[in-house]
Amino acid sequence: MRTRFASLSAVTFAVALAVSGCGAAFGGDDDVVRVYSARHYDLEPAFEQFYEETGIEVEFLYGSDAELRERIKAEGEDTLADVYMTVDAGNLALAAEDGMFQPMHSKVLDEAIPSNLRHPDGLWYGLSKRARTIVYDPDAVDPSALSTYEALAKPEWDGRLCLRRSTNVYTQSLVASLIVHHGEQRALEIVSGWADNAEIFNNDIEILENIDSGNCDVGITNHYYLARMLDDDADLDVKIFWPNQQGRGVHINTSGAGVTKNADNPELAQQLIEWLATDGQQAFVAGNHEYPANPDVEPDDLIAGFGDFKADDLDAEKFGALNAEAIQLMAEAGYE
């Protein structure tokens, strides 16, 4: 009995040790690029295609942005990450600010990615674009009543507007762009108007479903959520509207990647990012109906059907740095 008691604890520790050994084993290979990704959309097909074309294997770790950044910082020189990939300009800007990246001196990338979708020193490059736009219920809303993000703050939309939670980085970036364009005072007025009018949802799919069911009349979501839902149900009772076409254009956000400062394989990492920006663009964006960052690559048919639009070419770097202010502003405005 005594031995059983002792061996039980021994086995536990042995298992723990063995498994930590497994964890460590990931550090061994050389022909591998390791990606820390806060982008959750199916990356596997793109990485598999990259492997088939180049023989370079990609391992990746998902996590939330803050967590992955904390982790890369904590790991310091020992980090396994070669590439940090994330979904929002704000996150990329913060990572750059924290000195997590090393510059890529890549002609390929400079040619493939427009200057407003990349860091001036080549610390990170955008790889796809998402439009955060207005969606509406065609049974309840005449599109002629829609114009701009700002107009949704008017009292006529009271109880009709559906928005996503303030904790979401897309919401934060949109508000940050309002701060850049209008200054804090005016931005606060707009966001307060939204907060007064809106019911708050946890994610874009919920907003789209509530528009479809007639609970909401109008909402703000990323375009690809609508595309994804249309994939499943072409008769969805939701239409897309491109706002601010008379002004600055639709708010665009970027998903992108950079090579970490302490990367073990910076060359391979750069090769992966270059591939994703060029030959791999299609594979990278297609699974999620995103707009390619590379202007030479065509968007897929479904989102092409949304029509052309004028995009806000505000520097992602600029509003990306304002996320914290955006959160405080929303807190002040009573935006949940």
Partner: protein, 568 residues
């Protein structure tokens, strides 16, 4: 009869640890080992939390003033409100069901006795998103109602505080139910009968004797619920309820301000201290010692007619709402997603993630149970305040939000790495990059209280003279634990194992931050899919978590919770 001569042969040989020095016989005291282990565990638990909490010495004033000006007051009110409402709800539902099932006989009662534990396998965040999906305006319930009546049919607001309380109550009541059930089973019939013959009607006897005697268990259950509510940040968000823990995730994920997040976390710690104080208070100074294993349990009363069916109906309703309906919804989602794409059964990652989940959960559960037994026994073996103080320290982790524990462990690992580097030793990278060891360490910090409390509550019911008797019979402390405590608290250890394993399986923030490179678990996967609203794909892994968690719950509680037949 000459008994004495044969004694010498059977007496255990004198321990070699004793030496003779200067006329004094100095004996190595076995208790030091226990004290040392208790101390080591306490330090190991406090260290990561303390590392993070020490950041309060350098407060970010801006964040505080900003928070106080805007959200903080409301957050505090919401947190306290949610905690109180959920505790009241879970105690009412949990203790009520325990009494119903433990005291009465009605159709299906034996089955419900353990079926009512099933929601333990249902993570609150899964229950949350299932019910938001079901009850939301586009969901099947409201759609059906609109079909029957008209498009503007009234329906309670889904994303609201009351709904959050309801869902939290449904997800968490099993903690109270389990402990209340165990308390009822271990209560001897004599005290209840004493109350009856003292002129108390059955319900009054229950209220005046059974309930007060079950109070330590109810308090422990309520404390567990309060802690879970306090540290939850996924479920409440589905219902637009902003607690302090949600605030933490906001300043963490939004402002990237570890200091502010940590300082908010210290606020949560304050609440936790209050909860623990409340539990101690509710437990009171009374010692509840009743020899449960030998005692005859309270006789069950057979219900007849409508009462019987009402009892059956109530149990069936709870099981349906907390388990059957959510599982059905997850199945429906799974069948939509079918066998293609992420989350399908054919996905090669699926089995690997499942294995990882099981491995981590099992290791954490065994560690917590072993340490729980050691610490709970240590407080009995040497009845000094130091050991009890260490025991209390060792259980603070449950009141600390997962991300705080994880960051603490990460900081410690970084410090260990620095030490290794300074010594010129390799291995630091592995430490910092996260190992399953670090993950399990964090889980032990976080869930030790869960294991310890159930074991301690069982041990509390043994008369102290049992320990004394075993010691005076020459059993060393380790043997006392093995030969007396363990066999008598087996049910407590079982409960500890299951509670920790299921919680570790469902746990999210810690594994997100600490898992080794490429080490994914089902919970992480569900979270990734759910955070992108891919409910259909999240269905299967979520269902798997539920299924895996159900297995130990059924295996363990089915045996221990079925009504014990009156002995003799």
């Amino acid at each position: 009869m000459t008994a004495q001569p044969s004694t010498q042969a059977t007496r255990p040989p004198a321990p070699d640890g004793s030496t003779v020095a200067g006329g004094y016989r100095r004996v190595r005291d076995g208790r030091r080992w226990w004290l040392f282990v208790a101390m080591a565990v306490a330090v190991a638990v406090v260290l990561p939390v303390g590392t993070v909490a020490s950041s309060i010495l350098d407060p970010s004033v801006d964040v505080w003033t900003q928070l106080w000006r805007t959200e903080l007051p409301e957050m505090l009110v919401t947190t306290v409100g949610l905690m109180l409402a959920t505790v009241v709800g879970t105690v009412a539902v949990g203790a009520g069901l325990a009494w119903l099932v433990g005291r009465y006989r009605f159709p299906g009662q034996r089955g419900f006795s353990w079926l009512l534990v099933l929601p333990l396998a249902m993570p609150a965040y899964v229950l949350g998103f299932v019910y938001v999906g079901l009850l939301d305006h586009p969901g099947p319930v409201q759609t059906t109602l609109r079909g029957w009546f008209d498009a503007n049919v009234w329906f309670p607001t889904v994303r609201s505080f009351p709904m959050a309380v309801v869902v939290m109550t449904l997800a968490l009541y099993p903690y109270v139910y389990l402990l209340a059930r165990a308390a009822l089973r271990e209560q001897s019939a004599t005290t209840y009968e004493a109350a009856r013959v003292l002129g108390q009607r059955p319900l009054a006897a229950a209220r005046r004797v059974v309930l007060p005697m079950a109070r330590p268990s109810l308090a422990a259950g309520a404390a567990l619920v309060a802690m879970e509510t306090l540290t939850d940040y996924a479920t409440v968000q589905y219902f637009n309820v902003t607690t302090v823990s949600v605030g933490i995730s906001r300043v963490w994920n939004g402002m990237y301000d570890r200091n502010a997040a940590t300082e908010l976390a210290s606020l949560v710690l304050l609440f936790a201290v209050a909860v623990i104080a409340f539990e101690r208070l509710a437990r009171g100074r009374a010692r509840y010692t009743q020899d449960g294993s030998g005692a005859r349990p309270i006789d069950a009363v057979r219900l007849h007619g409508w009462r019987a069916w009402a009892a059956t109906g109530a149990c069936a309703l709870v099981v349906a709402v907390t388990f059957v309906v959510p599982v059905a919804q997850l199945l429906a989602w799974t069948s939509v997603s079918g066998m293609r794409g992420a989350g399908s059964a054919l996905d090669p990652r699926y089995l690997g993630y499942l294995g990882n989940s099981l491995l981590v959960a099992t290791a954490a559960a065994v560690c917590c149970a072993v340490l729980g037994v050691i610490i709970a026994s240590a407080t009995r073996l040497s009845a000094d305040r130091t050991t009890r103080g260490f025991a209390r320290m060792a259980t603070i982790g449950y009141a600390v939000p997962g991300p705080v524990v994880a960051v603490g462990v990460l900081l410690l690992a970084a410090a260990a790495d620095a030490v290794l580097d300074a010594l010129g030793l390799p291995g630091g990278a592995v430490l910092v990059t996260g190992t399953v060891g670090a993950l399990i360490y964090a889980y032990v910090v976080r869930f030790l209280a869960l294991g310890y409390n159930s074991i301690d509550a069982s041990l509390e019911k043994l008369p102290p003279s049992l320990t004394a008797a075993a010691l005076t019979l020459g059993a060393r402390p380790r043997a006392v634990v093995r030969r007396v405590h363990l066999p008598l608290v087996r049910s407590g250890v079982g409960v500890a194992l299951v509670l920790v394993a299921v919680d570790a399986l469902k746990e999210l923030p810690v594994v997100l931050l600490l898992r080794p490179f490429g080490f994914e678990t089902l919970a992480v996967w569900v979270f990734q899919l759910a955070s992108e609203s891919r409910w259909e794909q999240a269905g299967l892994p979520a269902l798997t978590i539920v299924a895996v968690a159900v297995l130990p719950v059924v295996l363990l509680f089915r045996r221990t919770l079925e009504p014990k037949e009156a002995a003799s």
